[in-house]
Amino acid sequence: MDLPGIKEVMAAPSATWRPGDAWLGGGTWLFSRPQPDIDRLLDLHHFGWPPCERVADGISIAATCTIGELLELPEVREWSALSLMRHCCEAFSGSFKIRNLATVGGNLALSLPIGPMISLFSGLDGVCVIESAARSRAVPASEFVTGIGTNVLEPDELVRSVLLPTSVLRDRVAFRRISLTRHGPSAVVVVGRSAPGGCTLTVTAATPCPRQLTFPDVPSAHEAIARLEHGAWSYVGDFHGSDLWRRHMTRKLVVDVLEELSG
């Protein structure tokens, strides 16, 4: 939609953030809601960040990388955990048209339970690199989202990139997702990851923010469900699924994921 309050779009590198500014990634969310409190957009594409880089300790994915670009990344055989990328990109609720515009950083910053990049990066122990004019800091992706639509970002901060550490890329992963409709937004996503010496289950979409359970080894279904129940998590109930159903589907998908990991 038109955003009548926007007076100016500036290249982000040449502007200093001030109240009333918003970072412009793909624009697919910004332009989908009235934005009465925003009068200037700072266009991140002018940074010209490469979408994806191999760095010393893993892969660095720029905030401006689109979901479409992520899907086109070549597969690396020894990094089996990257299979999660395809699953998460396909879980994206928008069409391929939106996927070609929407960015990784935008999906994280929106911080909605259905956000597939939240599933991806928290499931793979990604690290969000957060920057503002004054400082830079790193936050584990699983701790980035703090609630429905809320996160650790200060108003002047942006997500610069997400680092996927090499240490997890060789892990075995299993992915399960359920939605009310065949191609609909995720209601529950469970990502399981196992390697000698550890197993992590990450639940997203069902809960307001990512939830993780860690085990020294792949646990039994009963053990995992006991931990799940002990957590007394609150579940999201909205038009993508009721809270009770999501809670029960979380249990089911956890069992399915464990079955795959121990198979």
């Binding site: 939609m1 038109d2 955003l3 009548p4 309050g5 926007i6 007076k7 100016e8 779009v9 412009l24 624009g27 697919t28 910004l30 332009f31 989908s32 809601r33 009235p34 009465p36 957009l41 266009d43 594409h45 002018h46 010209g48 490469p50 979408p51 401006t64 479409g68 899907l71 609720s93 928008g94 069409s95 391929f96 048209k97 939106i98 070609n100 515009l101 359920i178 009310l180 409709t181 065949r182 191609h183 609909g184 937004p185 209601a187 469900i225 129940e229 038009f239 993508h240 699924g241 009721s242 009770l244 159903w245 999501r246 809670r247 029960h248 589907m249 249990r251 089911k252 069992v255 399915d256």
Partner: protein, 903 residues
């Protein structure tokens, strides 16, 4: 732009995620190119690409949702399909843009032809976006078309014809005899090229834009509206409040008889009765300025206690919404919030209910639903030689003209209402939601003004289907003959009573009329609440009440151990039966023809064929369910349709019809009927429609009347003209007019059958077979009639499986976007198998019956009956979404839940 031929697909050069290309674009001083031509205009920072392109005159780019969730605005930017409504226009500064208007120049002609040959549209509003989406497919999208088409919505076709187009299958071939043939729409070529003009697709010089200030509270008295801050914004022309509006009471519902609906609505009222009610109207030079200024209008309220549901509204001492209305305003009991109260009895149900061993009593809940016609409510108006001209997206241009005349004290000759091609309606445009307040501004300012609802306004402030709760009690004797039917129901009409009477009356009465039964009883009310008003919706109350009655009948047949279809057939009315009226005076409806036994047979035989297997896994249960519905072939109340046929000097004929075209295809049906009678080719019939200067009066396009009532007028006019031409000199210009009154009436029957699989561990429901047989009488255009069935079934499945709209604790409708309100998408459902039964109805033109709404009505109960068959659980509330179904199957246990072993 370079193109790759090899139709119908093609793929373009630089995808938008080519970062280098993007940087080049944003740094360079290159100009934007649109459809091969350099564009000199520069977009504003505030604009989305859609807004900019429409401003440049590219009206093939449609406004459907504002959130990137419907696809109607799809264009190609540097070769890749994007939703232009969420694409920042400045990002396209040096881009190469292709809209539907330019597609054929870059190799898309074959794709457009495929859509034409499959007639893969009905209203045609979404069509440019659907075609542009397909034009943007790459190998990945082509490999999984179902996934690629998500969030590209069509609300009319049910996607079957779109799938045909994408697969290159044609749905029609040139025909010689017009009636009974698959004659394509004359508007087809314009629709697939983006040339078709919908309501706002015209240029009106210096048009002003209106935006509405809406109530944020459910019930309050407006103490004052301070527009001074808004008026100080440059570009704001006027702000209208209740002080500027005539103090006239009317209903937003449009009916032949205005007394059908309570007069409880004002253009701008000093009392607001629901969140979203209009409080003031801001008019400015651009829509953006008007929208901003709306936020600066300061409204002070005196809060009034609100009732947000029907139970609260009927409680003794509850605040009454319309206590100020006089007795003659058509409200049943304004002091108790009862808009409509229906009581009717035949025989006495008490004795058989007490005596029978076979009694079923169940209580059903059907929530609200939204029409989601992709063209929002929109109107543009201006003065022309002192006359008010209103071009609007309405099913009832003549009735809207009459309402404007009454509200603003004008003569009929002072007002012209035009409804050109309408982008979907489904009953939602049998309502006056924009024209009244727009006319106020045009008349006061003397300048052109336009008003277009946003999709969020459609959800929160336009009308919905009525929510219904109803208890059905049915009893039968041991011969499986029905002995008693009792229906006790309540409908939530929201803050205003528009359509409450008609929907309630038709819904509960016709649902019971299907069955011969000596004892029947109805107690039903429509109740006012401080929520968004409900209104007309395809099916007009029947879908809700048939869901309840048919599910109860199904359960009773199980109790009796009789096949559900045999039980229904045994007890249903048969050809030549008279109806005993339950609640009103003498009826003009008979069962003039019935192909119900054929329909039952067709569905049974179809479902006896092998079905696809359920998905893998032992948690899937499989079952079969049926439902039967009946619908009167026209609304009561003497629906009037008018036509004029003129034989022109060039041997062609001009056919003027009052009824509107919103995708129902009646424009084609009229041309077919006329050509058949006049013995000319279909191309010789030039149709003009739904413009109040063409004819004196026409009730409009609703109640499935386009073929049966209006078509009859065309048939009679054509026959009259044939006789007149025989008596006149060759080549004489002759004109005949005819109007019909839609009486006497008959009934049509529809039978639906499903085979489904239900996953008891997840609640997921898969439709394996989806069969509908219809008793449409003579089918004048099988392709179009099939399209009506396909579209209605999918729309009904949306309401039965996923769509859910509710009023939250503050009275705000939820959700407000298409992302939250899940209408069926391309890959969601298997196609419906459509069977036509053979019948000929003496009351319809050439033996035809209406089929616009009827196919919707049996779908939800057939689905619930199939779930019952598969799982043994009777689900009585819609929708049957996985989460609700799971809870129904497993009980709403907040404890530990099922043991993991069951997974």
């Amino acid at each position: 732009m370079e193109l790759r031929r090899g139709l119908p697909w093609f793929r373009l050069v630089a995808p938008p995620h080519d970062t280098k290309a993007r940087c080049r674009r944003t740094r360079g001083t290159l100009r934007m190119r649109i459809n091969g031509t350099a564009c000199d205009a520069v977009p504003r920072a505030s604009q989305c690409l859609r807004g900019f392109l429409r401003e440049q005159g590219w009206h093939g780019v449609k406004t459907g949702c504002d959130t990137g969730e419907c696809g109607s605005c799809t264009v190609l930017v540097d070769g890749a399909a994007v939703n232009s409504c969420v694409f920042p226009a400045v990002r396209a500064l040096s881009g190469d843009i292709v809209t539907i208007e330019g597609l054929s120049d870059v190799g898309g002609r074959g794709l457009q032809d495929a859509f034409l040959r499959a007639q893969a549209f009905q209203c045609g509003f979404c069509t440019p976006g659907v075609i542009m989406t397909a034009a943007g497919f790459g190998p990945a999208e082509r490999a999984d078309v179902d996934a690629a088409m998500k969030a590209t919505l069509c609300r009319c076709t049910g996607y079957a014809s779109i799938r045909d187009a994408l697969d290159g299958r044609a749905r029609w071939a040139p025909a010689t005899s017009p009636v009974g043939a698959d004659v394509p729409s004359a508007d087809g070529p314009a629709i697939v090229t983006g040339a078709a003009r919908f309501t706002l697709d015209i240029e009106v010089a210096d048009v002003l834009h209106m935006k509405l200030v809406r109530s944020t509270v459910p019930h309050a008295r407006v103490l004052g509206v301070d527009a001074s801050r808004a008026l100080s914004v440059p570009g704001v022309v006027a702000v209208f409040t209740h002080e500027d509006a005539p103090d006239v009471l009317y209903s937003s519902a449009r009916h032949q008889k205005t007394s059908t609906d309570p007069a409880d609505t004002r253009v701008l009222d000093r009392v607001v009765r629901h969140v979203g009610q209009r409080v003031a109207a801001v008019v400015a030079t651009t829509a953006a300025i008007a929208e901003q200024a709306c936020r600066l209008v300061d409204v002070s309220y005196e809060m009034l206690p609100a009732v947000l549901d029907v139970d609260a509204a009927r409680r003794p001492g509850a605040p009454a919404l319309h206590a100020d209305k006089a007795d003659d305003h058509g409200i049943a009991d304004a002091g108790r919030n009862v808009a409509v109260d229906i009581r009717g009895d035949i025989g006495n149900v008490d004795a058989p209910l007490a005596a029978s061993d076979h009694v079923v009593e169940l209580t059903f809940d059907v929530p609200r639903a939204q029409h989601v016609h992709l063209e929002p409510h929109c109107t543009i108006g201006w003065l022309e030689g002192g006359r008010l001209v209103v071009r609007t997206s309405s099913q009832t241009p003549f009735l809207t003209r009459d309402a404007l005349c009454r509200i603003f004290s004008l003569d009929r000759c002072d007002v012209r209402v035009i409804a050109d091609r309408i982008g979907g309606a489904f009953g939602g445009k049998q309502e006056m939601l924009t024209e009244d307040v727009l006319a106020l501004a045009v008349l006061q300012l003397g300048r052109p003004v336009q008003l277009e609802f946003t999709r969020a306004e459609e959800f929160s402030a336009a009308t919905t289907r009525h929510a219904m709760r109803c208890t059905v009690t049915v009893a039968a004797d041991s011969d499986a003959d029905l002995t008693a039917m009792r229906l006790t129901g309540t409908m939530d009409t929201g803050a205003y009573g528009n359509h409450a009477g008609g929907v309630l009356y038709r819904g509960c009465r016709e649902a019971l009329n299907l069955y011969r039964c000596p004892n029947k009883s109805i107690r039903a009310q429509a109740v006012y609440t401080n929520t968004t008003p409900a209104g007309a919706f395809r099916g007009y109350g029947l879908a809700q009440f048939i869901f309840a009655v048919d599910c109860a009948i199904d359960e009773l047949s199980r109790k009796l151990g009789v096949h559900p279809l045999e039980f229904r057939l045994r007890n249903a009315v048969a050809e030549h039966d008279q109806f005993t009226s339950l609640v009103a005076g003498p009826s003009d409806v008979t069962v003039a023809s019935s192909a119900l036994p054929d329909c039952v047979d067709l569905v049974r035989r179809a479902l006896a064929e092998p079905s696809p297997p359920p998905p893998e896994g032992e948690q899937w249960c499989v079952g079969t369910g049926y439902a039967v519905s009946m619908l009167e072939t026209a609304p009561p109340g003497r629906h009037r349709a008018s036509v004029r046929i003129t034989s022109e000097a060039d041997r062609r004929f001009t056919l003027d019809v009052g009824t509107a075209e919103f995708g129902n295809g009646t424009s084609t049906v009229h041309r077919q009927i006329a050509a058949g009678e006049l013995g000319c080719s279909i191309e010789d019939i030039v149709l003009r429609r739904s413009d109040t200067v063409l004819l004196e009066h026409d009730t409009g396009a609703f109640g499935s009347t386009g073929t049966v009532v209006a078509g009859m007028a065309t048939l009679r006019a054509a026959r009259k003209l044939v006789a007149a031409m025989a008596a006149a000199a060759p080549g004489a210009v002759l004109a005949v007019e005819e109007s019909t009154e839609g009486s006497p009436r008959s009934v049509s029957f529809v039978v639906h059958g499903f085979r489904v699989a239900v996953n008891i561990a997840t609640g997921q429901l898969e439709v394996l077979r989806n069969v509908q047989a219809v008793d449409a009488g003579t089918v004048i255009n099988p392709m179009q009639c099939r399209g009506q069935v396909e579209g209605a079934v999918v729309q009904a499945l949306g309401a039965a499986m996923t769509e859910y709209l509710w009023s939250d604790e503050n009275g705000q409708m939820q959700p407000t976007t298409l992302g939250g309100y899940r209408v069926p998408a391309f890959g969601d459902l298997p196609p419906v198998e459509v069977c036509f039964a053979t019948s000929h109805d003496p009351t319809g033109p050439l033996g035809a019956k209406s089929m616009g709404e009827a196919p919707l009505n049996p779908v939800a109960p057939a689905l619930a009956n199939a779930v019952r068959d598969a799982t043994g659980v009777r689900v009585t509330a819609l929708p049957l979404s996985a989460d609700r179904l799971y809870e129904a199957l497993n009980g709403r246990v907040d404890g530990a839940g099922p043991d993991p072993a069951i997974y």
